[in-house]
Amino acid sequence: MRTEASRRGLLAFRMPAGRPGVWAAALVLGAMALAAVAAPLLTSHDPLATDTDATALPPGSPGHPLGTDLLGRDLWTRLLYGARTSLSAGLLAGAVTVAAGVLLGAVAGAGPRWLSTLISRIADVLLSVPMLIVALALSALLGPSLGTVVVAIAVTSWMPVALVARAELISQRERLYVRAAYALGLSRWQVLRRHLLPGALPPIASIAAFEVGHAILTESTLSFLGLGVPPNRPSWGNLLTEAQQHLLTGEWYTVAFPAACVVVTILAVNVLASAFARGEGSAW
């Protein structure tokens, strides 16, 4: 039974074959990223340029496949450039979150007991405060910018990563192979680097994937509230803010397309993250 489980554990990072949902999610994300990178090649319009001759065109209009907004800006172009902002903000914030979480978790898991208690108590407190309020306060304090969004997201979502990393390290520490490593004369640092951290990685990786999706969503939320990236820079959240006013005047598509982008991306990231989480095990 043991060997069976361990075989599964080692496949933590292999894409499960024969699961079309996972492949579709990966394809969607790949296409999104590609479109964001290649934005100037996919459209000839400027995302910021207004065109008073072509305001509020419906989708399918010549030259504007998804239509234009009330200022005559091409929606397709704005979505592509918005993907650049939203995806990079999400990835960056996700990366910072995970890095901070792993660092704090490692300190809590390997450091002295008082530090461990301090970090986990702070995490508990932050987890019990509504995340959006903290993020809002931070954004209001620092002013809207991409950096603010990253900081606000990292500050409000490092806790799950840190708690998982800490718990994993503590459980790894009790394993027999760690004792065997000490018996070979390895130092604490060598044991941490060779055995504890690699052992803790699979669960951290799966939670990290969820954190990236979470960060993309939070970026959109903050931008929608006007506290994220500056309003003149297109992002999916900003597009939604502007579209909010048109919702009842018939330009439904200015809301529908950016919203669909957010939903599809989060969905794809979460499908991938769950695939990681399923394959993940304590490696035996």
Partner: protein
């Protein structure tokens, strides 16, 4: 009347046939032992009876329980058979019980699931437990022996016709093992129950079974009363198994004893936290010389494993001293340092000093050294655990495991050859190896830093007799050829006699006996020259040399 009849049983796991045409009958009121090495299909056979095999395992032939063929029963009716007509007890009793509910609830739940009327307290009493003491206990609060008895009570609470005991005493010390198996046999007689005892230990089979069926490669090659099967084995495999199980001490001269490799003085170690503490070691003095094999025996909880941790300089005793080399080594060391070049005399010692001059540390108290020096000393001590697989990082290959101890690529090959393994195994993951191979990889790793002391904590407990014999022979060789000091922890006196020159008996954290291995026999028991603890161990240890007729 036969309670269980297996007819031409075949079991396939994906890719291969493990059991191939097995015939076996278990009559009522008798204990039939199914004995064989690991991988012979014993446990698969036992699990097939109750349909508990993993997915992908397919059984063919017929499994007749009385008049019913269990293989043709639908799942629903099979469930009614499990527990009610067939009881099953697993090797790892604690793991087979649910840690979140009490023993009493396990029993009442089983009774209720079958809408039967049975008294769980009676079942516990029959298995030698005090119901008032364990009814409200959770599995992890029990000792290994108590947990196994509770599991047996659970398996027999509904008075099944057949009890399958799957290696139930492998993890238990001999005194507890004797108590548990005595209870199993008594119940078989009193309640006319058939018992299928799965074991890899022929001596256990010989002592507690009415009949032994020897299984290898998925077939029963010989079946009969213990006296016949072991006294006049017909099949070559039975002969091999019996000779490996006999654990005859090899004829060897005591060997040249070198200097003291490690010694303990008045070591006391207390385990546990704020709520409950246990004195695991209570004033232990021990000297181990190079080229000497010392067996440390004792019941579970006697402090054996704690002793290993202290000897390995991993666990710090609260009191007493752990000396690298004997207490007199420091003086001698100071003297010899004035001589020519003592390090060239050290031979292999000089090669693996690696920055820290271990030679200069001899005779000093391990826990007064700097951390760096203590680590250097740990490299001079090899450590082997009972669960070899758990002592390897699950992400590492055999090569990485051994290389971690400081071996180069060429060393890894040489070490694997040294322990009798094919160097081609280096690229495999340890979990794909057999139990005996894993333990030899563990030995190769322990030898990689050229230790002077090898500490082995029950290294053969989970192995079958044939794999065990190979590991023991290897240890013999290492002691002889490399002058290693070996400390071998075991709860099995037969193994202790086989491997060691000297046997140290621990009880309650104290050394109660320190005898030459040869003195441990029934003569010692009769003459009263040993402590009561040693006498109890001797009396409960099954022996193949008992008159079996």
């Amino acid at each position: 009347m036969n309670a269980l009849t297996l007819k031409a049983l075949t079991i396939d796991v994906p890719g291969r046939r493990v059991v191939d045409g097995l015939d076996l009958t278990v009559p009522r009121g008798r204990v039939v032992a199914l004995a064989g090495p690991s991988g012979s299909g014993k446990s698969l056979t036992a699990r097939s009876v109750v349909g508990l095999n993993r997915e992908g395992v397919r059984a063919g032939g017929a499994i007749m329980l009385g008049e019913t063929d269990l293989l043709t029963l639908p799942e629903r009716e099979l469930r009614a058979v499990r527990g009610r007509r067939v009881g099953y007890a697993f090797q790892d009793a604690v793991a087979s019980l649910n840690p979140t509910i009490t023993i009493g609830r396990h029993l009442t739940e089983t009774v209720r699931a079958h809408r039967a009327a049975a008294d769980g307290r009676d079942a516990l009493r029959r298995c030698g437990l005090d119901p008032d003491a364990v009814w409200h206990a959770r599995p992890y609060e029990l000792s290994g022996g108590q947990a196994q008895r509770a599991a047996l009570a659970l398996a027999t609470v509904l008075g099944p016709d057949l009890l399958i005991a799957d290696e139930v005493t492998t993890a238990l010390d001999p005194v507890t093992q004797a108590e548990v198996l005595d209870a199993v046999r008594a119940q078989a007689r009193d309640e006319d129950r058939a018992v299928l005892l799965i074991t890899h230990d022929l001596a256990v089979a010989a002592r507690w079974a009415d009949e032994i069926a020897v299984i290898t490669e998925g077939r029963v090659v010989e079946q009969g009363p213990p006296g016949t099967v072991l006294g006049e084995p017909r099949h070559p495999f039975t002969r091999a198994l019996a000779s490996a199980a006999r654990l005859e001490p090899s004829a060897r001269e005591p060997g040249e004893r070198g200097e003291t490799a490690v010694s303990l003085r008045g070591v006391r170690r207390v385990l546990g936290g704020r709520a409950r503490t246990t004195v695991a070691l209570d004033g232990v003095d021990l000297d181990v010389r190079e080229g000497e094999a010392v067996a440390v025996v004792g019941r579970s909880g006697s402090g054996k494993s704690t002793l290993v941790g202290v000897l390995a300089a991993l666990d710090r005793p609260q009191d007493g001293r752990v000396l690298a080399g004997g207490p007199d080594a420091r003086a001698r060391n100071a003297r010899s340092l004035r001589g020519p070049d003592v390090r060239s005399l050290g031979g292999p010692d000089a090669r693996s000093l690696r920055g820290s001059d271990v030679w200069a540390l001899r005779g000093s108290d391990v826990w007064s050294l700097r951390d760096r020096d203590r680590r250097a000393l740990r490299r001079r001590t090899g450590l082997v655990f009972q669960d070899a697989l758990a002592s390897f990082d699950p992400r590492h290959t055999v090569r990485q495991v051994i290389a971690e101890a400081g071996a180069t690529a060429a060393d890894v090959d040489a070490l694997l050859t040294r322990v009798g393994l094919d160097p081609a195994l280096a690229g495999r993951m340890p979990r794909t190896l057999s139990g005996g191979e894993r333990q030899r990889v563990a030995l190769a790793r322990a030898l990689a830093s050229r230790p002077r002391v090898l500490l082995a904590d029950e290294p053969t407990t989970g192995l079958d007799v044939i794999a065990q014999e190979r590991v023991l022979a290897l240890l013999d060789e290492l002691r002889r050829d490399e002058g290693l000091a070996i400390v071998f922890v075991t709860h099995d006196l037969r193994v202790a006699r086989r491997v060691a020159d000297r046997v140290v008996v621990l009880a309650g954290g104290r050394v109660v006996d320190d005898l030459p291995a040869a003195a441990l026999d029934s003569a010692a028991l009769d003459s009263g020259a040993v402590s009561p603890e040693t006498a109890a161990l001797l009396a409960s240890t099954p022996s193949l040399r008992l008159p079996t007729s």
